[in-house]
Amino acid sequence: MSDERKVLLEVKNLSVEFNGFKAFTEVNMKIYDGELRVIIGPNGAGKTTFMDLVTGKTTPTSGKVIFDGVDITGKSTTEITRDYHIGRKFQGPNVFDNMTVKENIEIAMEGYNSMHRCVFFRKSKEFKEKVEEILKLIDLYDYRHFMASDLSHGQRQWLEIGMVVAQNPKLIILDEPTAGMTADETYKTGEMIKKLKGDHTLIVVEHDMDFVRQVAEYVTVLNYGRLLAEGTMEEIQNNEEVIAVYLKED
């Protein structure tokens, strides 16, 4: 059944070496349009490296990254974001601290990032409505005039999710969106992410297994820079190899 769906992101034999250290070795992976893929793996498994490779922060030693049918291997971060619509949320909340929540979202809004668009920018009604909609989605509407630095840790995570959504990307990559959150906040984040599915394709990297169970449909497991297993949540939980390296503490 999976072959009928449109492939949005495909990595072919992707490898990268840092001074002889093989951080990522011959990985093949396909992400389908509209799916929510969870990537798990122990520390140093290459999860962050994978995201760096896709978003152009790191250039692969060999292999290809194909997004929406176009080879984007080795393109710059700016290009990948602007022309290919890949949005990324970083591990720690990575927001603009001394600016208000609303300003943060406004900066991130899709389609206003070139110089002349910025110079001739006028706040249209649609623009304002879109910003409001996102503020409500991430549950920070009441906090819109606060400085980002005055928010709680969880709220800052949401703010960054909101900023990534504002980019209106085809592919959203979330790096540990629930890191440092309380159980309540984690659950709320899970519901937020489920709402995004369908409009966007999502790749979520997580450690929190409760959260993974809440949102995951299809899971990829990485270990030592290699692909260890792929399958539905159920298959993964019963996979002996995965249990041996990763799930044993559960």
């Binding site: 978003t55 971060t77 700016t78 974001t81 602007r82 949005g87 990324r88 970083f90 990575n94 927001v95 603009f96 601290d97 001394n98 600016m99 300003e103 406004e106 900066i107 991130a108 206003y112 990032n113 110089m115 910025c118 110079v119 920018f121 009441d142 906090y143 005039h145 606060f146 400085m147 005055d150 900023m163 980019q167």
Partner: protein, 360 residues
Amino acid sequence: MKILKAFKNLPVNRYIDMAILLFLLVFPFCSSTYWIYVMSGIMAYIIFALSLDLLWGYTGLMSMGHSLLFGAGGYMIGIACSYINKADWVEYEKLTWFLSPLSSEVGAFIMALLLPALISFIIGFFMFSGKIQGVFFSLITLALSGVAELFVINQSKYTHGNSGITVISRTLISDSKADRMDDFTFYFVILLFLVLAYAVCMLIVHSRVGKVLQAVRENESRLTFFGYKPSAFKMLIYTVSGAMAGLAGVLYVRTQGSVNSTAVGINLATLVLVWVAVGGRGNLTGAMVGTLVLQIAETVLNSVFSGISADFAQYWKLVLGIIILVIVFVIPKGIVGTVIDIQQKARDQKRKDAILSKEE
């Protein structure tokens, strides 16, 4: 009613802006010619400080050699004036090709704005596309300002070396003595330019470009993941800031009636950093308050202490140094920055209470 409400919701520093403007407007009607002259110079310095605030306060680019651009503007006027009026030390017949616009008065004024903009554009181009950031940017600009000071002294054919150039004062464009305004009129000319410069700053700061610049200051690498090219924005603001510093240089030179190598030197570059730091960065008001307070203080103290000790000017630097240390330790955000913080905290508390009561 709506206007009244918007007025009430302004950040506190905008009231200070209005107060300063009002003060500057009334000032010449109740002071001596000497003080009108002093204040004219201070207003030119305020424009200079505003141009640095755009760069340092809003974009986070701490230029330690901003006087390079100030002086470049000033020297254009100086060279033009000495050439047109045939000063007795001028030995050259014709200006070299790139200085040839200086043979006309209007050309000199335009050059005084364009050359600093061009210099900052070129410096910016190499630094920002070379990904030079943070303290390295500061150090390179500092070094450039030092180099410029030596360059100006060495190129004595055009700059009259250490002695500097005498300029027709209290005119805007003209280089003839007949067109000199009185102190009172010239004060208002500078005030007009100050208001214009302030308006331009406000326009930039509140535009989307201004917000992007703030985002550059806060987290430049994050911005690239939203598809921006930070280097282009940094180059733009550096160029605008350069032209504005050049304008400040022109106005200052026209008030003083002379220009010399201190106008491009490290001394002035440091002074302007201090004004902005003491007043508070990133809100425009701070730059104005800092410049006003410290420059007025220097003038007053100078006249008080000159009777006691002849070389007070040197002691003033010591006093200034102590002031900076105290400010940096006690209120790192500067005078205005701290006041804004207090207001922001109070407003946040109100909003938090409102949210809590809504949830209950």
